[in-house]
Point group: D2
Chain length 135, copies 4
């Protein structure tokens, strides 16, 4: 998937957390966030909520950029995260592959890795595709 130039305004959450959107290489979407105390839970590990958040961010954005020009918008439907190993330092990098691009929904597989490439969490996202409300 080659992403078209974004027609979507910026995302407040990405700014708040300093999420950097990356070139996805042979995947379909990617982003990373630096690990700071703001995204750690009390035991020094990355807060589990960061993984579904990153996954939702990049899969909604990539679905949106692909369907926006046909008059549609993305609408998250399910987001299911499985945690494999904690991260405590460096970055969390999320890399997404679209495994289904349907007329009414896209299905994504997202892998979240640490700076050594070890998988910390996997997330499956279903993003519905809905007609853009006329404004």
């Amino acid at each position: 998937m080659s992403l078209v130039e974004p027609h979507l305004p910026a995302d407040g959450f990405s700014e708040l957390l300093g999420i950097e959107h990356l070139d996805a290489g042979d995947a379909d979407a990617a982003a990373r966030v630096a690990v700071t105390d703001s995204i750690r839970q009390p035991f020094g590990l990355v807060h589990g909520g960061v993984y579904p958040l990153l996954a939702e961010t990049i899969t909604s954005k990539a679905t949106g950029e692909a369907v926006y020009q046909e008059g549609n918008v993305p609408l998250g439907q399910t987001n299911s995260a499985t945690f494999l190993r904690p991260i405590s330092d460096g970055h969390v990098t999320a890399t997404a592959r679209a495994i289904h691009r349907g007329r009414t929904s896209w299905v994504w597989d997202v892998e979240c890795t640490d700076d050594e490439g070890r998988v910390a969490a996997v997330v499956r996202c279903v993003v519905a595709v809905r007609p853009r409300p006329s404004s």
Copy 2:
């Protein structure tokens, strides 16, 4: 479940987002966050990542407070969110009920509602209970 006095240090994420931890009433844990542009996605709706994030925050915290004195810590295992309707203003309030308190894992049902009490998302969290690492 009457929560014991927290023995856990504060959570950076809660501070960053201004999450308010609430009296859970007859549920087991609750918190809310005010809707601002920081947690909206580009179309003006609350970012889908907020729901699993809030759910993970309160279920990890409540599990942790219940098991910490026995020498254990919470470790998120799965977090599965289903989005029902968007929120664009007011607050997102998450209310959690523990539906299983096992020796090795707790299972939680979380409902996220808007200020009119309409359910915007439901989240199921499995939180593993693991021996506290000796420091």
Copy 3:
């Protein structure tokens, strides 16, 4: 929800396993299956696949009966089961509540219990509602 008289032909799987469809009382759909060696795994416990199977059976059927007369059919989208405690004898009873009845999808919570009413598994199902193909 009062179920309309089924307009749907019988379901082969229900017959194969001897699934009994029950009066749902104040829930929206219910069924049970007797525990025999056919649905036990090698260690004598009910096979984990029975819970999502029962949940999918009753939520698809109930969604279908509600939307069929408007020219729609149900189409399973996600089925997410969490196992809480094993069952080894008696029956598995699944009871479903529709927590969202949308134009394009229904969301269901299903509880699977043993004959003592203990919850063995919970299942969340999203059933899409799609126009009936013209034949």
Copy 4:
């Protein structure tokens, strides 16, 4: 993963449905079932419950065969299926890859395909590893 010779008794469900366990090639476990009316729902499509059932069958079995000799047994924890496209004829083939082999749980990705290799469903299974009860 080269599976050790099974030390586990046969599985009633596999027999009932005629599930054939296959050589997994470069995956970690595989099986298929022929599509007959017994596993079709009323509209002629494969019943959605077949996908989580097949996935649970092969991931529990493969986890069990790997951990049994160390005195452990598999215990399904979560099973989360996403349906992509229906199957109406031929076989359903499930192929599983272990993406995490932890001391206390294994995480699996399962793909269910039709006879043309098209992906009909993906399933993520978490299988807990527990000490074998002394008999």
